[in-house]
Amino acid sequence: MSDTLSSTTAAEAPPPPATRRIPALARLRDLALVPAIVTVAIVGYIVSPVFLRTDNIINVLQSMSEIAIVVLAETLVLITGKMDLSLESTFGLAPGIAAWLIVDPAVTHGLGLHAVPGALAIPLVLLTGALIGAFNGLLIVRFGLNGFIVTLGMLIVLRGLLTGISGGKTFFALPESMTYLGSASWLAVPASIWISLILFAVAVVVLGYTRAGRSLYAIGGNADAARAAGVRTDRVVWLTLIIAGTLAALAGLLISGRLASVTAAQGDGAIFQVFAAAVIGGVSLNGGKGTVFGAFTGVLLLFLIINVLTLAGVPAQWTNFLNGAVILVALVVSRVTGGKAQT
């Protein structure tokens, strides 16, 4: 048998070197944004020496921690080859529902029901996120509807629901259970940073080292092949959508805690930044490609650039223009440094 092989392969020209070089590149893809991040850090330091001070770094990490968790959620969904636009509305609605049920209308000029004790706030927020994810899954997995359209509809419906229950106003006077995680500091570092870093670390391990995590890649890469290999594809996708909804709800809880309020517009428009961060970080919109670590570097790069612009004293009226420009520039930078087109 081995004779057969050696004779057949020896007769062939060796495979072109390009195919041999790919694995090394693939391993490096994770670090593709590191040069870009270093470049931004150097530019930032030149713009303002404040940039590299610990409190500024913590400031950047805290300002990105909530969105980063939503990016993590979206990354999971994107890797399975689906997409979830409704995460930005979940981000606002989940804490909104909790606030609506908990806050006392006597204190807040008629907003809220005061129907549920404040202690239930966190479970309520997470449950809302999970239910939204489960409903998305029902429509996408069970009814086989297009994920983009389903979650676009959900984005609008959920946003409308939040506007409805809040009357377009802002929930404030939140119970301490809702504000604690977003405002507490552990070991002199804001809890939200800890939470987002820990979630990313857990996700790196789960996606890299567990069968369940690998099945996300298998599904996104070739769902039929995954099914043939015994992966329960529908169940995994559904579960991923539920986890994504829960993560977005948690992120919403953190920002509500930080700001001690839930506005009717919380998270409005954030999904574009979330997609941009994931794609810049090397996550493919076609599924099956990308890593959690890459997604993290994507968010980090975006927020570092924004921070540098702030330090440079760019006026606030230009923020939107610059946010868009930053996304495009970051895409180009990651393309140039990573050498691979982001799709």
Partner: protein, 504 residues
Amino acid sequence: MTYEEQPPLVEAVDIGKRFGSTVALDRAGITVRAGETHALVGRNGAGKSTLVDILTGLQAPDTGRVSFGGRAAPPLGDRDAWRRQVACVYQKSTIIGALTVAENLFLNRHDRGAGGLIRWRALRRSARELLATWSVDVDVDQPASALTVEQRQFVEIARALSFGARFIILDEPTAQLDGTGIARLFDRIRALRAQGVTFLFISHHLQEIYEICDVVTVFRDARHIVTAPVAELDRAALVAAMTGEDVSLAGDTYRPPPPADAAVRVVVRDLVTASGAGASFEARAGEVVGLAGGGSSGKFEVAEALVGLAKPAGGKVTVDGRTLRRGSVPDALAAGVGLVPQDRHRQGLVPLLSIAENVTMTVPGRIGRHGLISPARRDAIAHGFITDLAIKASGPHVPVSDLSGGNQQKVVMGRALAGDPKLLVLVTPTAGVDVRSKQTLLGVVEQVRERGNVVLIVSDELDDLRICDRVLVMVQGRIVREMPAGWRDNDLVAAMEGVDLDHV
């Protein structure tokens, strides 16, 4: 042991299966004995795919039973039990390109250590061991997308064997392989058969069946027609069993070459592709030229450079005195070049669009004026092709995704012909196409030739090349031989392999 005494490894009896009003299988069956390589042939739609689905446990038969080694088949839900019995290497890959070869081999059964975490090092080692056991020489750390079609098939076969299955179904494994790739695949099949693996081999290429298989089963119109040792069924009888009528397959294809004073219509001068392959040749009016060669011969690259799909590094192509702009498909179309590309799914068709839209895609100028398309004119053109090429469809509005492989290829051919090409370039025009469609497609060549146009057939399929007036043989990026019509199969194959039988 004699042939009859061996217990059947796989037995399907009285299988019936309907999809709505369509009868996919009508009391059909197959018996495969251990150690043999069994061919399953039939025209598109004969019920082969449905039988494969039933044999692999992807679908339950409506009637009849399947047994493995005398025992009834496992229940449909028990995928692992099925995988221990049988595996199928489909035309469509079940390999996930973004994951490494190692992970593909152990997908969803990763080697796990403490805490349920995957032990990548151990997994890669078992992957290397597995591939070494079956002598597959592939780097397990590379992403599977880097594999060639052939390597991918070997990896899929190795994976199937690792589940314990010793019965492997190969669904048209040679459709996307070139001559040397097929030779290596057959070597591999013979070696595995020596190691006790049984194959069910599905192919449209009858030659391959005589080359590699012991027994052949023919299906036609959802029914089992005949099962016989290949030695007892000659080509004519096999074709007759497949089509239900007598068709002389090759026939006498000899015809006089075009007169030596016929006008030179196509000139390819020092064409050099980006990969370094080069070619120079001329073709006269009414000439059919073959371009043959093995996998790395560069024949596909030359074809792509010629029609503008790839930008050549140098040289020029002239059609009727007009020099084509390098790397420009629109210019090639305008100059009268028609193309049937190698991969009809990727380059040939837009599956969701109708036959009419696909066929007229290259000739927007002929179906409308001032940029507006006339649906009536478009449908008229499409109707013409549906009749001429015997495309089996209810009308020009049928989406091509609803057609069988052979009919899809006819649509691609129609698209190439829509512009009345002066030079028709056909790249592996009959890959994955059944016998009758093959005849229709090759018959078109004759018509084009009779009108004084030039046909270039780029293929290593001997049946395709037989109709050529001369065959240019490429080896390692160079045209090394020119063989006039009337060559012997052995000589041409030897020339493609870079061997000269007369001077050994």
